[in-house]
Amino acid sequence: MPLREGWSILKENKLALVGMTIISMVVLVAIFAPLIATMDPMSLHVSDRLLPPGETYLFGTDDLGRDIFSRVIWGARISLMVSFFVVLGAGSVGIFIGLLAGYWERIFGFILMRSMDGLMAFPALLLALAIMAVRGTTLPNMILAIAVVYIPTFARLTRNQVLAIKEREYVEAARACGGGSIYLMWRHILPNCLAPLIVQATVVFGYAILTEAALSFLGFGVAGQPSWGGILSEGRRFLYDAPWISIFPGLAISLFVLGVNLTGDGLRDVFDPLMK
């Protein structure tokens, strides 16, 4: 489908537009965090501990007197960075594996796909937790841990697409003209697999945000930087006295993931109008 036609369908979908607006806002907030945040997210104001939302502290303060608003603003960076690189990493590795497994479907493909099944047999969060546990809690390790979990979904989807597409006539024609395997995969098969993969990428993007937040919540987040899940985790002890510590970062996560899901649903309608 030509891009322009897809865009014109997407433009009509108001919810998808709302979703894309939310995503753009989070991206802007993450980029301009130093300008938007009213305070240093790490600075302690010991005399202003556990204050409710007010004029000075828009979202209130935590038990160390840190400004929740500024922490939530800075937290956008971690969420965005982790989920972006997870999709990039899991997407490229998964699509690569899926292409190979679909193209050489017999023994090579069988081995690749059984390995993917093996990875998928672990509950996502548990596998990510285990990887973080052995690798340590740093940002690259968190991206690695979550990306590994989502490689199989990309690989499986790509493989199924390749199996169908490689039998098409235009691929046959290209092969008859002397196109090599790599050329066929890259130039003719991959571009025709992309539509469902883009939808899948948005789904994984949403899951990655949630998984990052869950890992941080469980205490395996990236140390030294405020993240949404991390703030929530700290707020857990003050649910009775200072619920605002937990409410605002959770709202940020939910809104961001909702934006991603709205966009994903919109894209799915573009590529697959029957499902609407």
Binding site: F122, G219, L258
Partner: protein
């Protein structure tokens, strides 16, 4: 094809997956920087202690030998002992599993109770205000982090209204009359989010079913709309829903980790978090393998249920 033959084939197909799962679980502790003994006791540990732990864990054997020893024992129900408490890993898991099970079962029950009617109504009134409303709520539901949903429920029902206890646990298997009060909020947390995913699935599979010829036939022979949907549509639309529950069960097992931590439930999920925080590697390995096997078994069960529901696959 006979159902038993199908189940047999399905189990055979699960064996390579089990092998890969066990290799991944086994390799976990060998990915550690240094060696597992140092990782557990720390770099400054007494060399003699390190040495004896290495011998106990069989770290001087070749890797494949270590793997076969470990997986061989695991198949006989021996997952080793906790490095922390010396308790057998299997015993630790078994004592916590009933808590997680009660949580997961009630969550699935709540999910079905909410999602089936919601999804069916949305599909039957496609593109109506009702449909859009239900689907928007479902989308919000799948966007919520489980722990945050749990926190909101605690703030509403425990802090503000005071109807139910927020954090704490009494097992429903031991004292049902008190236990259910502790079970409601955590199960609702997981159940609602699961319901959102299932409602989306129910709606789309119901839409698929509504387009089928047999539905038109049922309507044409004069059945009321409700009878058509319940009698002919539901069973067919239920098949993808069962499948999605199988898939989401993996999410549920991860979700219990978070919810058990939030609500202070002594289940398998908290055991994972606890053993990871304490670098109790035999325990981590054991629980990871155990949970993956439970997940595989659930999906096997799901396949059998789908087979039962759909005679076309059977023949």
């Amino acid at each position: 094809m006979n159902i038993l033959v199908y189940i047999f084939k399905r189990i055979m197909a699960a064996i390579p997956v089990f092998i890969i799962v066990s290799i991944v679980a086994f390799m976990l502790i060998h990915l550690l920087p240094g060696d597992p003994a140092i990782a557990m006791l720390g770099r400054d540990a007494d060399p003699a202690q390190l040495e004896s732990l290495r011998h106990e864990m069989g770290l001087y054997d070749p890797l494949p030998v270590q793997y076969f020893n470990w997986v061989g024992a695991a198949l006989q129900g021996d997952l080793g002992r906790s490095a922390l408490t010396r308790q057998p890993v299997m015993e630790a898991i078994n004592s916590r599993f009933p808590h997680t099970l009660s949580l997961a079962l009630l969550a699935i029950f709540i999910a079905l109770l909410v999602s089936l009617p919601a999804g069916i109504i949305a599909a039957a009134r496609q593109n109506s205000v009702l449909d859009r409303g239900v689907m928007f709520f479902a989308l919000v539901g799948v966007s919520l982090p489980s722990f945050w949903a749990g926190i909101l429920l605690i703030i509403l029902f425990a802090v503000t209204l005071g109807w139910l206890p927020g954090v704490g646990w009494v097992s429903i298997w031991e004292d049902a009359s008190v236990g259910w009060r502790y079970l409601v909020l955590p199960s609702m947390t997981l159940g609602f989010i699961l319901a959102a995913a299932c409602a989306r699935m129910t709606r789309s599979s119901m839409l698929e079913v509504l387009r089928q010829d047999y539905m038109r036939t049922a309507r044409a022979k004069g059945l009321s709309e409700i009878k058509t949907i319940i009698g002919h549509g539901l069973k067919n639309a239920f098949i993808p829903v069962v499948t999605i529950i199988g898939i989401e069960f993996g999410w549920l097992l991860g979700g219990t980790t978070v919810v058990e931590t939030l609500f202070g439930i002594p289940g398998v999920g908290r055991l994972v978090v606890h053993s990871i925080s304490n670098r109790d590697y035999p325990m981590i390995q054991g629980v990871v393998l155990y949970v993956a096997v439970v997940y595989m078994l659930v999906n096997l069960l799901v396949d059998v249920i789908v087979l039962y529901l759909n005679p076309r696959i059977r023949s």
